[in-house]
Symmetry: C2
Subunit: 340 residues, 2 copies
C-alpha cells in the first residue's frame, strides 16, 4: 500500500461484529487517519478502545459520515438501508455486513480470495456487500475445487454458533449453561427455544418455500459470489450450543473427478484455507479450535461414491472473523489499495 | 399376546441403554416370568429396581442363560461376541444391541416397523440384531417414502447426543459444563476433545476410506434393513453437546416425485413417526423435545429443487429409546407374539 491513510467509520461499533472489526483493523494495521465509532442512541457516550486509545461512541446519523472515506457497517439490515446511501452521498464507500444490499444488481458481493475483481463495481452505488457468514465459510474451499473441476451441486448442513446471532445470543447460551449447572430455571429470550443442550433447525425467518432466509442466503449469495448463477444448492441451517465458529458439512458434486489428494492440494494452496485432516491423529476442524483464527479449516475430505465426482468436506471457520469482520476489512484493504 | 410369560435376561443392565431397557420393559408390560440382570464383575452385587422390586445384578457368564427365553444384550460388541452364541446354545433367543452381528448374513437386522418379516430368520443363528441408533432414526421416515417413490440416494449429516456414547460420556458433558460455569479447568476423558461448546466430527473409529465406522454403519445397515442393497448413501456423523436424542439432516432422492404434502401424509401414517412441521409456529423436532419420547419426529420437510425428486427432512429421535432399547424390546415383543 502507498502511504495514504483513510478516515474510517464503524457503524455498529458496540455489537459482536463491531468489536471484532476494531480488533482486526488494529491487528492488520489498517492505514487509518481518523476513526469514528457509530452506534444507536443508547450506546452514545460509551468509550471504546482502539489501538491503545479511547474513542467516544457517536450517534449513527445521516450527518455522521462527513469526511469519511470508508464506512464499515455492521448495525443490522434496517440501519444499513437507512444510512448506507447517505454515507455514500457524503463521499464514503460503504462496506456493508448486513443482508440489505447483497442481492442488489448494482452492489458487488465479495469474498476477496474468490471474486476480488468484483470490488471495482463499488462505483455503481458506492456500496460493497459483505456476504453471509455461513456462505463465506462454506464457499472458501469450494472455489479452488470449482476452478479445477466445475461445481455442479452442493448439499450443505450447518452447525452454527450462537454468536452468529449477536452478543446477546452468546450470553444467553452462557447464562442457560450456568443456570443448568446451578440447578436454576433457564430464561429463553433471544432464541425461540432453549439452546443449551439443544440444537435448533431454525436460523432467520421462514419463507413460503419452507426454507429459512439463512438457507436461501447460502444458496443465492453463493451463486452470485462464485459467478455460477445456475449452481444447484440445497441447505439446512442449524443452531448448535457453541459460542463462536460455524461448521458446515458439505457434499459437493463436480463435472470432473477430484481425488482426495488433489482436493487437499487445491484447498491447501488457496489463500485463507487450511487443510486439517489427519483422522489417525484425531485432527479435524472444530469450532473450539477455529474460534479466533482467520483461516477456514477443512477436513474429513472424502470421496462420496454415492454420486459421480462427489466429495464430502467438513469446513469450520470463525464467523465473526472470516465470516464477517475480517472479510469486510479485507474488502476495505482492497478498496484502499486499488481504488481510493 | 397369549397369556404366555417369558424368562428374560438383560446383559449390560447397568449401562445407559440397560437402564432404558428396564424402564421400557416395565412401561410396555412385557410378559415377564423371571428377569435376570447381568453385567460385568464390577457391577455384581448392585441391586436394580424393576417393576417395583429390587433385583441383584449377576455376573454375565456362559452359564447365566440357563432357562432364559429371551436375552437382551447391550453390553458392547466384544461381550456380545463372547456370550451371544452360548446364550443361544442355552436355549435363549438373543436380541443384540451391539454392532457385532448386524452385518452377518445369518442374522436378521430389524426395525419392526420396517422389516418385521425378517425376524423369522432368528432361527438361523438364534440372534436378531438391533441396528445402530442413528440408522434407525434416519430410516424410520424414509421407509414410507421409499414404499411410495423408491429411494435412490441419501446424503445425511448427523447431530448426535453424548449419551449415544454411554452414561460416562453424558456425565462428561455435564461435568465440563459445570466446570465452565464455575471457571474451572475441564477434564477430557471419554471424547477425544472437549465436547462442551464444541462439535466433534468423529464418532467411532476411522476406516481407510476416511469415513468413520458410524458413517459406514448408517450406509450398510440402512441398505440391509430397507432391503435396497444398491442404495446410494453418504453420511457425516457429528457429536454435539446435547444430552439425549439424535438429530439428522437428511437429503433424500427418489425415483418419483413426492410433494411435501404427500411426504407429510405418508410419514404421519407410518407407525412410530410423527410429523412436527409448523415453521410459522416455530415448531420442528429438537432433541430437548424428543428426549424421553418413543416416536421419531420429522420436520423441515422441503422440496430440494437442486436435484430431481429430492426432499430435505430433519429427523429427531431418542437414541436410547427408538434408537436402542425400545426397538430391541419391540423385536422381543414380536418374537414373543409370533415365534416363542
Amino acid at each position: 500500500m502507498s502511504g495514504k491513510r483513510f478516515n474510517v467509520a464503524v457503524a455498529g461499533a458496540t455489537g459482536a461484529v463491531g468489536d471484532v472489526f476494531l480488533r482486526i483493523l488494529e491487528e492488520r494495521k489498517f492505514p487509518i487517519n481518523n476513526i469514528r465509532l457509530l452506534a444507536s442512541e443508547r450506546s452514545v457516550g460509551k468509550r471504546l478502545k482502539f489501538a491503545g486509545e479511547e474513542f467516544p461512541v457517536e450517534l449513527l446519523s445521516k450527518d455522521a459520515f462527513k469526511g469519511i472515506d470508508i464506512a464499515l457497517f455492521s448495525a443490522g439490515g434496517s440501519l444499513s438501508k437507512q444510512f448506507a446511501d447517505p454515507a455514500c452521498e457524503a463521499g464514503a464507500v460503504v462496506v456493508d455486513n448486513s443482508s440489505a444490499f447483497r442481492m442488489e444488481p448494482d452492489v458487488p458481493l465479495v469474498v476477496p480470495e474468490i471474486n476480488p475483481e468484483a470490488i471495482a463495481r463499488y462505483k455503481q452505488r458506492g456500496i460493497v456487500a459483505n456476504p453471509n457468514c455461513t456462505t463465506i465459510i462454506t464457499i472458501m474451499p469450494l472455489k479452488p475445487l470449482h476452478d479445477y473441476g466445475t461445481l455442479k451441486r452442493v448439499v450443505a448442513s450447518s452447525y452454527q454458533a450462537t454468536s452468529g446471532a449477536g452478543a446477546k445470543a452468546m450470553a444467553e447460551l452462557i447464562a442457560q449453561t450456568k443456570a443448568h449447572a446451578n440447578g436454576q430455571a433457564m430464561a429463553v429470550e433471544v432464541f425461540k427455544h432453549q439452546i443449551a443442550f439443544n440444537v435448533i433447525p431454525h436460523i432467520d425467518s421462514f419463507l413460503d418455500n419452507g426454507y429459512t432466509k439463512e438457507e436461501m442466503k447460502m444458496a443465492n449469495e453463493g451463486r452470485k459470489i462464485m459467478g455460477i448463477p445456475d449452481l444447484r444448492v440445497s441447505c439446512t441451517c442449524v443452531r448448535v450450543p457453541v459460542l463462536t465458529a460455524h461448521s458446515i458439512s458439505v457434499n459437493a458434486q463436480f463435472d470432473k473427478k477430484i481425488t482426495v489428494a488433489k482436493a487437499k492440494e487445491l484447498i491447501s494452496k488457496f489463500p485463507g484455507c487450511q487443510v486439517m485432516d489427519d483422522p489417525a491423529g484425531n485432527s479435524y476442524p472444530m469450532p473450539l479450535f477455529c474460534a479466533g483464527k482467520d483461516d477456514c479449516y477443512v477436513g474429513r475430505i472424502r470421496e462420496d461414491e454415492s454420486a459421480e465426482n462427489c466429495l464430502n468436506l467438513w469446513v469450520c471457520g470463525d464467523q465473526l472473523r472470516k465470516g464477517a469482520a475480517l472479510n469486510a476489512v479485507q474488502i476495505a484493504e482492497a478498496l484502499a489499495r486499488n481504488y481510493l
